[in-house]
């Protein structure tokens, strides 16, 4: 049974954990994911359009980022870069690493979605007199993003949870806040479960948003036949 002491610790700590969640975890996720989507679309388009030199740059970037652990990337940027004179605060370090990391994975998702758009869409655009960029922007990319939406939502949910790794580079997000309370109260089971529950709530909200988004985006009538 939960003792009165444990009960009051859980209640007290709930806000102390949720607050950094709202003030750090969510902004970190929103900023990093937005940047990641910009990177992902650019990298995907470079590869899809087969742009000569840049294509190799994109492949190299994706190769390195996908082939190394996220935690190592955080350490390199935050603890490593000061050695060469680049000193960044914890939060911007985390933003950069999460954006670059998700940018690489996201670009593969978007590239695959671009390739799934039927070739005839491009040809129909050409025959209507449109330019390559006009067709990409108005016809192909919107269809690809619709296809990529569930996978990208998945990545967003994964990123919310992965931000807990930023505790390692002293970003004062939810997990770090929890660790501090555990050090003071010595109730690891209850408190780590509590922070896990808060992550679960965040993910649940995002899952609901994903479902609403998918409904909104179902403008092609794919499911309405």
């Amino acid at each position: 049974m939960i003792s009165e002491r444990l009960y009051s610790i859980l209640v007290d700590s709930f806000w102390k954990i949720l607050l950094p969640g709202l003030k750090v975890t969510i902004p970190l996720t929103v900023i990093a994911f937005s940047l990641a989507m910009v990177i992902a679309v650019i990298m995907a388009l470079i590869q899809f359009a087969n742009v000569k030199v840049l294509k190799h740059v994109a492949r190299f970037y994706i190769w390195v980022v996908r082939g190394t652990p996220l935690l190592v990337q955080l350490y390199v940027v935050f603890f490593g870069l000061p050695k060469v004179g680049i000193v960044l605060d914890p939060f911007p370090s985390a933003v950069i690493v999460f954006a670059l990391n998700e940018g690489a994975y996201g670009s593969e998702i978007i590239r695959a979605a671009l390739e799934s758009v039927p070739r005839g869409q491009m040809e129909a655009g050409y025959c209507a007199g449109m330019s390559y960029l006009q067709i990409m922007r108005r016809i192909v990319l919107p269809q690809a993003l619709r296809t990529a939406f569930p996978s990208l939502s998945n990545s967003l949910i994964a990123m919310v949870k992965d931000t807990s790794l930023a505790a390692n580079i002293t970003v004062a997000e939810m997990f770090m806040a929890t660790q501090r309370i555990v050090a003071r109260t010595y109730e690891p089971l209850a408190l780590y479960c509590e922070v896990g529950f808060i992550y679960l709530m965040f993910s649940t909200v995002l899952t609901r948003l994903q479902r609403m988004g998918e409904k909104r985006l179902d403008f092609y009538g794919y499911h309405g036949r």
Binding site: P118, A124, Y126, C127, A128, G129, M130, G221, R225
Partner: protein, 246 residues
Amino acid sequence: MLEIRDVRKRFGSLEVLKGVDLHVDKGDVVAILGPSGSGKTTFLRCINFLEIPDQGTMEFDGETWDMSRISKKEIAGIRRKTAFVFQNFNLFLNKTALENVTEGLIVARRMPRAQAEETGKRALDKVGLSDRYDYYPHQLSGGQQQRVAIARAVAPEPEIILFDEPTSALDPELIGEVLEVMRELAREGMTMLVVTHEMNFARNVSTRVVFMEHGKVVEQGTAREMFENPRMERTQEFLSGTANRG
């Protein structure tokens, strides 16, 4: 109006077009017939530069081009004066019927939106889809989609419309509505180049028939000459064979 000479195209080691010539006058409805693999679709795609020929000259609307060395800008210019109707429609899947028609007008031809919508609605009315403006392609039947595609082709008032087997992907009961729209266009004097397997259309609607096989034009003539009195044995064989089947 359109004169094409000696078009050649190979894909790897396969020579698909072995020197094709074609002459089209304003108001002509030319049916291109031939067995599958004869190169007729590739030929049609070369006219719109969806495939770039290895060789060939094109005279269109008073200008002449070497088809193998044409620039992107020149291609864009030719495409603005032509239209293409695909076998599998290729409607923009993220756009409504009306948007499919107006997209090219607004984006490529810089027509004001209001005017484009008026033009688009008129084109859709003409193909009998005045009650389907706001439907997405997936909410339409194949015949309706192809009629939207024809409206999209007609709306910019092209000099010529190229049709690539426009009824081949349709259920048999939907073919009639598409052919009817094409017949109406022919009556209005639209210049049309139609790759087709519809013998009745070729016989009754087209002004000229071109018979292709193995990447070459075997024979061409008026619809009557070709169907009633073909000179080449191969043409005879093909036309009687398909006639019996159909």
